[in-house]
């Protein structure tokens, strides 16, 4: 964690409405660094960084989660080590590396 800074709203899906003075937690999303805030879930981190969380397996486009309460199972993503996590119920941790698309076979 680094010093607390104000994070701009940026072009992501979500809008932060307060609680901005939390420590920054740097994670990587598909290899790119992203500054989340301590206490963010992975879903919040992904949707402040952009508009998508994963792709539907069946070719009908991007998905961004739905229920926010661990019921709909729409926000499962990959960690770089291959583990599967549900973004809405997983808090960010420094150095966490998340993939919104599965790694190619053999990468994990």
């Amino acid at each position: 964690m680094s010093m607390a800074v104000t994070v701009p709203s940026g072009g992501g899906q979500l809008r932060r409405l307060g609680e901005r003075d939390r420590p920054v937690v740097t994670i990587t999303i598909d290899g790119a660094e992203h500054e989340a805030l301590a206490g963010d879930t992975l879903l919040t981190a992904l949707l402040t960084a952009g508009h998508r969380v994963r792709e539907s397996e069946f070719g009908d486009g991007p998905r961004a989660g739905f229920c926010w309460m661990a019921a709909c199972q729409d926000c499962w993503v990959w960690l770089a080590d291959g583990r599967r996590v549900r973004a809405c119920s997983t808090p960010v941790e420094p150095g966490l590396s998340v993939l919104t698309r599965p790694a190619a076979p053999g990468d994990a």
């Binding site: 397996e57 069946f58 990959w78 291959g82 599967r84 599965p102 076979p105 994990a108």
Partner: protein, 377 residues
């Protein structure tokens, strides 16, 4: 159906064998009434793993299996649906030299019957399936085997039979049947009475009840295959896999789901209830993680089971009744009847119409239990 109707053939049991028989008998011009106490394909035919496999079968079953195999290719023409059948091949894995010797012996036997397999050592496996399979000693690939969606097969045969003019009665259990000079008198839980010239007993785990109505004994037992399925993960497993000894079997469908099983769930045949057991699900998951380490991160999303009938000698009863002319049995497929179902429909139809079949079935006679039955009685 009301009153007392007459048909050429009555069928008890709406699994794949019964529905395929209904279709075949209509093709031969006979009138057919099939009775299924729930919905077609709701037990063994519909809840199994979906392996379409010749590999590993008892030598006595191979002729049945060989006869059934080409029917799977013809499903779109025959029943109007491919039932997601894919000839992916079936790969049986050995982890010890002893297991490999078993595969080699089976392979030699099967070759004599015209079923080709490819025996593979560890290097050949690594080359053919890079990164997929670890630690195996060797394996046997039967390239003509494959897999299909068991939920679709019996219903597809039932729809085709219906279109061909068969009467398929779901949610209607047969409560009794007798035979007199006029034929078989069959009564259902809804009070339907029907007179049939022939009767086919394909009632699965409950078929011994039907046999008993005609003085025949079959020591059937209950088996509930404990099945699991994962979430969709990238498609990597192009072959249906079985593991010697461990009892694990696993396949992946192009949508991405890994379907796997091993061990038995809980079943109560009389209450018609079955459920998977968590400890068995956990054992199968552990075996999957050992066999295909890359699959360990996939999340399991569902488990299920259903009720199958089996015999201690691991082969079914198929053939004419020993006591009653016009009665044909085919049941107790002991956990490996899915692939055979379409051929069984043809074979029991031949037995009804011609009194014999071109496929050798002597090993499956209900006669083999007669002595035990007398002792039990």
């Amino acid at each position: 159906m009301t009153g007392s109707d007459k048909v050429d053939v009555a069928i008890i049991g709406g699994g794949t064998a019964g529905c395929a028989a209904a279709l075949e008998l209509r093709r031969r011009g006979l009138s057919v009434a099939l009775f299924e106490r729930r919905t077609v394909g709701s037990q063994a035919s519909g809840v199994n793993y979906g392996g379409v496999r010749q590999q590993g079968r008892d030598p006595a079953e191979l002729p049945l299996s060989r006869r059934s195999r080409p029917i799977w290719d013809r499903l779109p023409a025959l029943v109007g649906h491919d039932c997601e059948f894919m000839a992916t091949g079936h790969l049986k894995l050995a982890y010890t030299p002893e297991q490999m010797a078993e595969l080699e012996a089976w392979s030699a036997m099967a070759a004599e019957q015209g079923v080709e397999t490819r025996l593979m050592g560890a290097n050949a496996l690594a080359e053919a399936y890079p990164g997929l399979i670890t630690n195996a000693y060797g394996g046997s690939l039967c390239p003509t085997d494959g897999q299909a969606n068991p939920r679709l097969v019996a219903p597809a045969f039932a729809r085709a039979a219906r279109r061909a003019g068969a009467a398929i009665h779901e949610h209607e259990a047969v409560t009794g049947a007798t035979r007199d000079a006029a034929g078989f008198r069959i009564e259902t839980e809804r009070g339907t009475r029907i007179l049939a010239q022939s009767l086919i007993n394909v009632a699965g785990a409950w078929a011994d009840h039907v046999a008993r109505w005609f003085g025949e004994f079959a020591p059937i037992q209950v088996l509930a295959p404990n099945m699991l399925v994962s979430e969709p993960v990238p498609y990597r497993l192009p072959v249906n896999i079985g593991v010697c000894g461990a009892g694990l079997y696993v396949r992946q469908i192009p949508r991405g789901n890994l379907i796997f099983g091993g061990g038995k769930g809980w079943a109560d045949r009389e209450a018609i209830r079955a459920r998977p057991l968590v400890e068995v699900s956990c054992q199968a998951s552990a075996q999957l993680a050992r066999t295909l380490p890359w699959a360990a991160n996939a999340a399991v999303i569902r488990s299920w089971t259903g009720i199958e009938g089996y015999f201690d000698d691991d082969i079914p009863v198929i053939g004419l009744s020993e006591t009653t002319p016009g009665l044909v049995h085919a049941f107790g497929f002991s956990g490996h009847g899915f692939q055979l179902g379409p051929a069984i429909g043809e074979i029991v139809s031949e037995l009804v119409v011609e009194g014999k079949t071109t496929t050798p079935i002597d090993a499956f006679s209900i006669r083999r239990f007669a002595r035990a039955g007398h002792q039990a009685a």
